[in-house]
């Protein structure tokens, strides 16, 4: 099965090409074709995963390069190739992506049934899946960048799917440009990696880094070959060098690469595109937020974890970015009214968890890494579920505003039930739900590895999450309906939409259990991974506190929103509240920087400079010549004695230039 892993990549691409070229006029066929292709891919991914899990050898050497195609050569030693690298995390991602894509495709049949351009939708969705699959199996940085960009392109096309809506178009542009901004750093980092460390292959880079980290113990546990030697040598040469601005080259390269992930995973302050991306059709939001695009940054960080760990500061950057984002987004989520935006900020917050969890790990203590991957896995399902349900709700009440909802539990029973499961999962309701396990793992890892600050933030955010998810849930499903009654009458649960949601409810619950078995599945990127086999007693207080936070959050939400009717008529005048509900005015800052500073203070002066200085010099030289010409014409006045006089002056000039005078 491993040998035919290229099929997993190819199938969505076939779905895209076939759909866009031949089926864009027949939405039904396009949908069927897409589901067929994606379903096939899902099946193959599952078989692959099962095969991989059942094999004994799941350690580092489980890395499998199954196929490779030399794309182009940059130098003699540096060749860009396209291939597949299969290891536990990439297989995990393959499974998550294909499963979710198949379900979302199915859901979309219902969601897009009245949309004339559905024939375009399914192929584009497949293309999105294709890009993401290519990204996760990438064996090299360049391939990752290639598909990284394709993810950007496909998200651009999907967010702006309703191209006649100016807000959608603006959102797609925003998403693309902000991620592109981060990508510029990413690209610089890749280039530094490629040129200074001599390799773009993940295993070479990571092996080099691992060897380097174990250099102090003078006991490299495995032999180096190929590009890894180069990387190792380059790293060793870098050690101790002061570098630029106090950071050595490796830190620069890794931080630059990380900035790419920063943008794609919408870490603060590059998060602004993500809430706006809600302008796209809901299935798109669901797939972006669960399995594709936003986890790309996490995945990138995980992929390069050994080298990040070797570099000074890099992991600290990762940690702080993640922690700040988690807290920041959770606070904002408490005040939002748009159903999808609440979910978007919750995604941000969860991504923050995953990020700081990576940051708290290191080469010796890898629990954070494992926890992060685990959270990626669990989060994908319940977040997808939440979005799908939100889509169904929007479909039913024709509004995004939770102020116009309420009491929907009577009308949308199935939705109510599955949403409840998902809310419990994300809020970290103990034991039954997957989210609890993964979140717990993260906080635990942070505390036990000495990152107390992050751990406390993690706990705090856990409480906030429970609160805003409770608020979300109670405002939608409980209380009285506050919107246009006309819409409610027609509200119903489309079976194509409900079915995937029900299916997703299963992993929402059970995805957390693999952890209980203590499987080292996610650990294998790091060669000498050592799981905390013995429980850390100093951290044993964490679980109760976390449970308390979750329950407490939900309780507060129930008290505030669930128990009694809520009025949205008078917006709060509290300045803190306003500030939070306006997302700390970060968007305004962006607009200020782009419109006022970059457009008006950089681009506009440049244009003026071009028009009036650069071009002006050229034009004025012409004007000067015209002026001189006028002088010459003035002297050319037809008066013979003037001519004669000038001849005599010319004579003197000749003598002067001849050196005679």
């Amino acid at each position: 099965m491993i040998e035919s892993s290229w099929m997993i990549l190819l199938l969505p691409f076939i779905s895209f090409i076939g759909g866009i070229l031949f089926l864009h006029k027949q939405p039904k066929l396009a949908a069927g074709f897409s589901i067929l292709c994606n379903g096939a891919a899902m099946v193959m991914a599952l078989i692959l995963a099962v095969g991989f899990l059942s094999s004994d050898d799941t350690g580092y050497h489980a890395l499998a390069h199954t196929w490779s195609y030399d794309w182009f050569a940059i130098t003699d030693t540096l060749t860009v190739s396209i291939g597949a690298l299969l290891d536990p995390i990439s297989i995990m991602m393959l499974v998550v992506i294909t499963v979710i894509s198949t379900l979302v495709h199915t859901y979309s049949i219902g969601y897009m049934e009245n949309d004339a351009s559905a024939g375009r939708f399914f192929p584009l969705l497949s293309f999105f899946v294709f890009s993401m699959l290519g990204l996760v199996i990438a064996p090299t940085l360049v391939q990752m960048f290639v598909f990284w960009e394709l993810v950007g392109v496909s998200s651009y096309m999907l967010i702006g799917f309703w191209y006649h809506k100016p807000s959608a178009v603006a959102a797609s542009k925003k998403a693309f440009i902000i991620t592109r901004f981060a990508d510029a750093f990413f690209l610089t980092g890749i280039i530094l990696m490629a040129t200074q460390f001599g390799s773009i292959g993940f295993d070479a880079i990571n092996q080099g880094a691992t060897a380097f980290s174990s250099m102090n113990t003078a006991n490299p546990s495995f032999s180096l070959e190929g590009g890894a030697v180069q990387v190792f040598t380059a790293l060793a040469a870098q050690e101790g060098s002061a570098g630029f601005l106090g950071l050595n080259l490796l830190s620069w390269a890794t931080i630059l690469i990380f900035i790419g992930g920063w943008g794609k995973s919408a870490m603060f302050p590059l998060h602004v595109w993500l809430p706006d991306a809600m302008e796209g059709p809901t299935p798109v939001s669901s797939i972006i937020h669960s399995a594709t695009m936003v986890v790309a940054g996490i995945y990138l960080t995980a992929r390069l974890f050994p080298v990040f760990a070797v570099a000074e500061y890099t992991l600290s950057v990762v940690e702080f970015t993640g922690a700040i984002t988690a807290l920041f987004a959770a606070i904002i989520a408490c005040t939002q009214r748009d159903i999808k935006r609440i979910l978007a900020f919750s995604t941000l917050s969860q991504l923050g968890y995953m990020m700081f969890s990576l940051g708290v790990a290191d080469m010796e203590h890898t629990a954070g890494f494992t926890a992060s991957m685990f959270h990626v896995f669990t989060h994908a399902f319940f977040k997808c579920l939440l979005f799908l349900s939100a889509g169904l709700i929007i479909h039913s009440v024709h509004s995004n505003d939770i102020a116009l909802m309420g009491g929907l539990r009577k009308k949308l029973k199935g939705t109510y039930f599955v949403t409840l499961l998902a809310v419990c999962a994300i809020a970290g309701v103990p034991f039954l739900f997957s989210g609890f396990w993964s979140k717990e793992e993260i906080i635990m890892a942070a505390w036990s590895n000495g990152h107390q600050c992050s751990a406390i933030i993690g706990l705090l955010v856990g409480g906030l999450t429970a609160f805003y998810m409770g608020r979300y849930f109670f405002l939608i499903f409980h209380g009285e309906y506050r919107g246009d009654a006309h819409h409610l009458e027609h509200a119903h649960e489309n079976k194509f939409m409900l079915f995937p949601m029900v299916l997703l409810a299963i992993p929402t619950i059970i995805a957390g259990y693999p952890m209980l078995t203590g499987h080292t599945f996610f650990n294998t990127v790091i060669p000498q991974a050592t799981l905390p086999t013995h429980p850390d007693h100093s951290a044993s207080w964490i679980m109760p506190v976390a449970i308390a936070m979750a329950i407490g959050g939900l309780l507060v939400a129930w008290l505030k929103y669930g128990r009694r009717a809520v009025s949205f008529d008078t917006p709060s005048t509290n300045i803190v509240y306003r500030c939070i509900s306006n997302k700390f005015y970060i968007d305004e800052c962006y607009i200020f920087v782009t419109k006022k500073i970059i457009f008006r203070c950089v681009a506009a002066p440049m244009k003026l400079c071009d028009d009036y200085i650069v071009d002006g010099i050229i034009h004025s030289s012409a004007a000067i010549m015209r002026g001189c010409a006028a002088v010459i014409r003035h002297w050319q006045n037809g008066q013979t004695h003037v001519y004669l006089g000038l001849m005599i002056i010319g004579l003197a000039l000749l003598a002067w230039f001849g050196g005679a005078l």
Partner: protein
């Protein structure tokens, strides 16, 4: 005493002058028309061919007269220019119908006779071996032109002639004054002696050199001795203008080269500065003057001032100077004559202003194309002859030992400026739509068959010169040594 073969051309030219004069006076009107006009241009062409055929491999002397191989291309230029001037006079001669708006020449026969006399004077200049012959040659080349400038009956013509005469007299005065100083400094009028006695430390000689150069500068219309040119070009009869613009310049250049590489050869380094000055100021003033000219003949005058600047630039250089100037002159003369032929046709019924040229491409595609080619050749655009011509002038100024790179840069930028006004002409004939006023006053353009044929031949010649290197190598064989 046996005559060197190369001298045959000079004698033939003198004889041709006599024949023209005699047939003008003695023959009946009908025969006269044929012989004077056709005889003259065919004679000049034949003499041109004779010049080429009798080109000596080394210097041939008869007494004080010296036929130098490098002057052969110049002599050819004189013949060509003479023949073309005669052809250009066609519509100003009687018997072809009144086809020029300024009327007929006072006397066609005398006009043609004077052209030949002037050509003879130029031949004499190239053969001169002493200052006296040189002076006499220059005067013979110039004085007939004073007369010819007055050959139309209008006031412009008279005024042009008078101005030309006055300014020309001053320049002759300069030359004669300079020659007297040279004689004083070198104690001889003979070039060979002067070449040894005129040394750079002899300041006395410098007065002579500078005055002589000023006198020649007038003939070349090099700035600042150029002021006469626009007025005279505009006022003189078209064939005379063309002749002044081409042949007279060529003669001046031949004379200049004769002096620079003859009596002045020991002054080389200091002369380079003078030529650099003349080159820079000529091309600048010429270009600036030509910008925004409204009248074609004045425009051509300014452009010729600029062109002389380029030629003088070559004189700052080394061995390449003579052949490159010779080739350039050949190309330049042809290019100039194409323009004058076209404008002469145009002038059959309208003043020669740019605004009257608008829409020419529609009225007469042939004329428009010819003018376009002429302008591009003058501007130095490949694959026309002007490209190599001008390019070699640049190369000449960059020869080892004479690297004047700043001058080259300056000249190259000037070449760009010159391109601007040449393209303005192209724009007017091809692109700018004629306004109603321009159009209504413009009846059809009459082109005489002989002129049409000449135009075609010239256009072919200028293209061939640009792509077929035969003439180029011939000139370099003769003049390169």
């Amino acid at each position: 005493m046996t005559l060197p073969t190369a001298l045959w051309t000079d004698i033939a030219l003198g004889s041709l002058a006599c024949i023209i004069l005699l047939s003008e006076s003695l023959l009946g009107p009908r025969l006269r028309k044929a012989i004077v006009f056709h005889g003259a241009w065919i004679g000049l062409v034949l003499i041109g061919i004779l010049t080429v055929c009798t080109a000596p491999e080394s210097e041939q002397a008869i007494g004080n007269y010296l036929i130098r191989p490098w002057t052969i291309p110049f002599r050819l230029c004189f013949c060509i220019a003479g023949a073309l001037s005669v052809l250009l006079s066609r519509n100003l001669l009687s018997g072809t119908g009144h086809t020029h708006r300024r009327g007929l020449l006072v006397s066609g026969g005398v006009h043609i006779f004077l052209i030949i006399c002037s050509t003879l004077g130029m031949f004499v200049v190239t053969g001169a071996q002493d200052l006296i012959t040189f002076l006499v040659g220059i005067e013979l080349a110039t004085i007939p032109l004073y007369v010819q400038a007055a050959m139309l009956r209008d006031d412009f013509s008279s005024e042009a002639s008078a101005k030309y005469l006055i300014i020309g007299s001053l320049s002759t005065a300069f030359t004669v004054f300079g020659i007297s100083y040279l004689y004083g400094a070198g104690n001889s009028v003979h070039f060979d002696t002067l070449a040894q006695t005129l040394t750079a430390d002899k300041h006395f000689a410098w007065v002579g050199v500078i005055f002589v150069l000023a006198g020649i500068g007038f003939k070349l219309s090099a700035a600042p001795f150029h002021m006469w040119a626009p007025d005279i070009y505009d006022g003189a009869p078209p064939p005379v203008t063309a002749y002044i613009a081409s042949s007279s310049k060529a003669a001046g250049l031949a004379g200049l080269i004769l002096l620079v590489y003859g009596p002045f050869q020991q002054l080389g380094a200091d002369l380079e500065n003078i030529f650099m000055f003349l080159a820079i100021i000529s091309m600048t003033i010429g270009n600036l003057g030509a910008l925004r000219q409204k009248r074609f003949n004045r425009f051509m005058a300014w452009s010729s001032v600029a062109q002389i600047g380029f030629v003088l630039m070559a004189l700052t250089g080394g061995d390449l100077a003579i052949p490159s100037i010779a080739f350039y002159l050949l190309v330049y003369i042809i290019g100039n004559f194409i323009a004058f032929f076209v404008v002469n046709c145009l002038a059959s019924n309208r003043p020669e202003t740019f605004s009257n040229m608008r829409g020419l491409s529609k009225q007469s595609p042939l004329l428009a194309l010819c003018l376009l080619i002429s302008m591009f050749s003058l501007a130095g655009i490949p694959p026309l002859g002007g490209f190599f011509g001008k390019f070699e002038l640049f190369l000449a100024a960059a020869q080892p030992g004479h690297e004047h790179f700043y001058l080259i840069l300056f000249a190259a930028i000037n070449a760009v400026v010159s391109l601007y006004y040449y393209m303005i002409v192209v724009k007017d004939i091809y692109i700018t739509e004629p306004t109603h006023a321009d159009n209504s006053t413009c009846p059809a353009i009459a082109i005489l068959p002989s002129q049409r044929l000449t135009l075609v031949v010239l256009v072919i010649a200028i293209i061939v010169l640009g792509v077929w290197p035969a003439a180029h190598s011939w000139i370099f064989t003769l003049a390169g040594s």
